[in-house]
């Protein structure tokens, strides 16, 4: 199975990277760009075939390591 984890700052938490990218894009002439958010994406393979079980394991990984639950939220996708 393949896991894809997206980690983003929780709403309301200052996203300094998003802010910087937005102002750079505006400076380059893309003034219509808005609400930029920058996050991390972590992709990996894991053993097994059962997507539900895979998802549960990856969520545990997010809690323990991949995300910082104090300020970040995450989204897990499992593909065969």
């Amino acid at each position: 199975m393949k896991a894809v984890v997206h980690v983003f700052l929780k709403p309301g938490v200052l996203d300094v990277q998003g802010k910087a990218v937005q102002s750079a894009l505006h400076g380059l002439g893309w003034g219509d760009v808005d609400h930029v958010r920058v996050g991390r994406v972590i992709e990996f393979d894991l053993a097994g075939e059962d997507a539900a079980d895979g998802k549960a394991r990856v969520e545990a990984m997010c809690q323990r390591l991949l995300a910082n639950p104090v300020i970040e939220g995450y989204r897990v996708e499992i593909a065969p």
């Binding site: 300094v16 990277q17 990218v21 400076g27």
Partner: protein, 220 residues
Amino acid sequence: MRAAVVVFPGSNCDRDCKVALERSTGADVTMVWHQDTALPAGLDLIVLPGGFSYGDYLRCGAMAALSPVMTEVKAAAERGVAVAGICNGFQILCEVGLLPGALLRNAALRYVCKPVDLDIVNTQTRFTAAFGGRREATMTVGNGEGNFFADEATLDRLEGEGQVVFRYKHNPNGSSRAIAGIVNPAGNVLGLMPHPDRAFEPALGSADGALVFQSVMASV
């Protein structure tokens, strides 16, 4: 000698570079703002200083590379004016394409600040002539993304053409082939991670950095 130090928002070694240049060469140093669209006339050296331009929030050097002043810096480099990018300045020179390769996160994933012993691989450049054939130097590094990367073919070419100028004796950040500093094929654009601007007099632990600036002065 006439020199300019470019100031980006987030540069933090701009004053250091100015002072280092003045003390080691007596150069007349102008500070140039990142939004300037012209450089002072008659420059012999342009320094892109260390720091965290624009916070380096996307990729180090990425946003600075797009500053208005960089168009002028590129043009000056093409005219043969000496350009030295130190630390963040090196990252910017790679981002803007004046030097090959890129600087990745340090292998240990940590910022590292320490004195480093360097081999001077090419003593014949515009930036190393004043070392008088000495093949070693000591300076300090301070970087989180100083891990020089280029593909094998590029690395071979850099080595073959004498473009590798400084190499770490003990690689502090995982750089490919322990490369600490390189020049462009024309030899007038230098990028290096160690800070000559923090090693320009004995009280700072080393005066070897002064020789980098004195080399440029000797070439003008």
